[in-house]
Amino acid sequence: MEAAQILPILSVAIATSTPLIFACLGETITERAGVINLSAEGTVMLAAMTGFAVAKTTENWGDISLLLGFASAAIVGVLIALVVAFGALTLKQSQEAIGFVLALLCADLSSFLGSNFVRIPGPTVPSFPIPWLKDIPLLGALFFQSDLLVYTSYLLIFLTAVYFYRTRAGLMLRAIGEQPAAAFARGTNVILMRYFYTLLGGALMGIAGAAFALDFKAGWSHRHTAGYGWIALAIVIFGGWNPLRVALSCYLFGILQSLASVAQSTIPDVPTQVFTVAPFVLMILLLVLTSSDRLAILLKRLPPIVSRITTQTIQSIPPAALGKVFEQD
């Protein structure tokens, strides 16, 4: 394969990773606060349906229909997250059980409610190459010849990372997910903050759904985004709950998908399902590999500095209080 061929593959991969960026960063924020929102699969799907339905219904209103689509998708995400938060934080029930049931329920609900919108053309986010930046050699083609949604995802990655590691509130967010009791001792309303970050994460997951239906996988069909919610949960683990690593993992997944579709056209003998499934399987293999004990043992043999940095880069330790109930007296 020549360089001229690789460039378009990469740029497509980066752009098509955008919905996952929103979903994964949303889940990262939620999980860092100690809540696991397992409903991602259902949230993304129901939000995709809602976003498409709203944008389609208001299509005649002009550009605002797209905004309404995204806003309604975000609201769906917030509402589902609210169910998770209320069940987990107020009723103190199992976060996993609530999230899992919601994932199944909302996925089915999207098929039921969206039956009138299946396979019809609808509005999509218009392309918007950024003047000047689009002409930079290599980088311009890679990053700046997409649309506003893609650029927003860059901004989101940057802002999330800055928020996590440079702001007081971000430090407290990380603290809440590790030791809520200690965070409470330092004057934070842990339950309130967890509500906030769960809803915020839900909104981002909702936007991810709309990003599929109104941009990268435009339209709606039965189980339109199947699998992406689950892979988002896996990517958060793979990314070690660090926004930058999570974003890189999303792009890695996007590249795997692009390569799979290229391979599909170059090797037509192999059944297409193999290539559709391959990126998911590869991600899971990578996850198993990086979190295995054997790797840790191998790393220990390296010189101390190399081993420490590598361990920090690839090891993935969940927030200590993830998924646990916190009783605030």
Binding site: T167, R174, A175, E178, A183, F184, R186, G187, K300
Partner: protein
């Protein structure tokens, strides 16, 4: 800052944790709060620090009544509390821990925080690396970090809840120096403890609590008997350690080394007789636990052989160690010893394997009731183990050890227990020695080692001493030996 707690009451369910308790702490003084486990000390200080809301009573700071509803209120009022289990964030760095919860602008300022931290650390002579992860610190260092953090928030009253549990002797010295330094600055310190000697070494005044009430206020110094009488409402006698050693060896190690990725421990030869008590002294993590795990059959030796009552047990599976009469009682009772979520009754049922497929609950209930009566456990058969107090958990753990045993291995047999429970535990252990059980126990309490051991092994910096007869030792010498002046001290003992 002068603190007045007036007529504080607090009830949890059916338990009256605090019953009309009043307490005055003068500015610039160190005030001890002494009492056995469950006397209501922690409840009282948690009311003051905003972790628990009181049912009745008032809090006055410098004479003015104040409403403290949350820990944040307490900090604003200048009251900070150091908890028994460090309330910090192990995966974060020392500096990040220092900054969490500090007020200020939107962005954190690591550079100025680091400056503040280093200035305070120097003032109190604490050696902490700002970039180290808290998960790599000892309990004592985590306390130091927490103290510095509270002080940086402008705390004028510092509450310490059982701070001397689980820290080394030198860290205790550093802690006490820091407290005295604070008192000299005019700050007040409330020191919660069940250890007489700590209260006597540090405090200016003491309030003794018993069963949720303030039993009395005394100036320090004051005779032990008087404090003990106030704590328990009667006098307690130390159990005498009779000589129970026999001549038959219970445990023999030959040329044993244990290697883990942290530490290589050369134990060499070691013979322990039946009925003998061996104290394992040393800083936490110097290898005492490795020796216990080795004898329990939970850790293989890298080289050498292990014989128990004449039977070669080297590299045998754990099951055979159990059959050989080895009992192991871990320090972390709820993690390694007992099973969270199971009742005392269920623990007994697990311990005594019934024949066939079904559990004979009637029979095990009888056993459970016997154990509860015999071991004086304050709980019912259906009480979940995590609901028991620390002392009663330890009693349950002891009740579950089989009888008879050839070798009993104990990590911190009395950590976190009040004096009455400590004496009771040791009475049980001594009774076991009289029936020929050899005991190996590790403890960070040097007095306990001196009081109950026949011979002592000192662990320091990956080295292990010969067995030292306790008659050749004093607490001071033992402390110095642990602290590192190893070979010189030992050669002084055994020239």
């Amino acid at each position: 800052m002068k603190i007045e707690l007036l007529n504080i009451s607090k009830r949890f369910g059916s338990v009256q944790a605090n019953d009309d308790v009043s307490l005055t702490v003068q500015a610039g003084s160190i005030h001890g709060l002494l009492g056995e486990n469950g006397a209501g000390k922690s409840t009282l200080v948690k009311v003051l620090s905003g972790f628990i809301s009181r049912d009745a009573g008032a809090v006055l700071l410098d004479g003015f009544p104040i409403e403290i509803k949350t820990p944040a209120d307490a900090i604003r009022a200048g009251v900070g509390m150091l908890h028994q289990d460090p309330l910090d964030f192990p995966p974060l760095s020392v500096l990040n821990n220092f900054m969490v919860g500090k007020l200020g602008g939107i962005f954190i300022n690591p550079r100025s925080a680091s400056r503040d931290f280093k200035r305070l650390a120097t003032e109190f002579n604490f050696q902490l690396d700002v970039n180290e992860l808290v998960s790599n610190l000892t309990v004592g260092e985590r306390q130091q970090l927490e103290i510095l953090r509270l002080l940086s928030l402008g705390v004028k009253t510092l509450i310490l809840d059982e701070p001397t549990t689980g820290i080394s002797a030198s860290q205790k010295v550093a802690l006490f120096d820091a407290m005295k330094h604070l008192a000299a600055q005019g700050k007040s310190v409330i020191f919660v403890s069940h250890k007489l000697e700590d209260v006597e070494a540090l405090c200016d005044e003491v309030t003794v609590m018993r069963q949720g009430k303030a039993a009395g206020h005394l100036p320090i110094p004051c005779p032990d008997e008087k404090l003990i009488a106030l704590m328990f409402g009667r006098e307690l006698a130390l159990p005498l350690k009779p000589n129970t050693c026999r001549t038959t060896p219970a445990l023999e190690l030959r040329d044993v080394t244990i290697a883990t990725d942290r530490l290589t421990l050369r134990l060499g030869n070691l013979t322990v007789c039946q009925g003998e008590v061996i104290g394992l002294a040393g800083l936490e993590g110097s290898g005492q636990q490795l020796l216990l795990l080795l004898c329990a059959g939970l850790l293989p030796a890298s080289t050498g052989s292990l014989t128990i009552n004449g039977e070669d047990m080297t590299l045998k599976p754990y099951k055979e160690f159990l059959q050989a009469g080895i009992g192991y009682s871990p320090a972390d009772r709820l993690k390694d010893g007992l099973i969270r979520g199971l009742s005392i009754h269920e623990h007994v049922a697990l311990r005594h394997v019934s024949r066939g497929w079904f559990v004979d609950w009637q029979e095990t209930l009888q056993r459970t009731l016997q154990a509860i009566a015999l071991f004086n456990i304050r709980g019912k058969p259906q009480t979940l183990v995590e609901r028991l107090s620390g002392g009663n958990q330890q009693r349950t753990q002891l009740a579950l050890l089989p009888v008879p045993l050839n070798l009993l291995l104990m990590e911190h047999p009395t950590r976190g227990l009040d004096i009455e429970s400590v004496l009771w535990v040791w009475q049980q252990l001594i009774a076991r020695c009289e029936s020929g059980t050899a005991i190996l126990f590790m403890s960070s309490d040097l007095d306990e080692i001196m009081q109950y051991s026949d011979r002592v092994l000192v662990f320091s910096g990956g080295e292990v001493s010969e067995l030292i007869d306790v008659a050749d030792l004093t607490v001071e010498r033992l402390g110095q030996t642990i602290g590192g002046r190893f070979s010189s001290q030992l050669s002084a003992v055994h020239p």
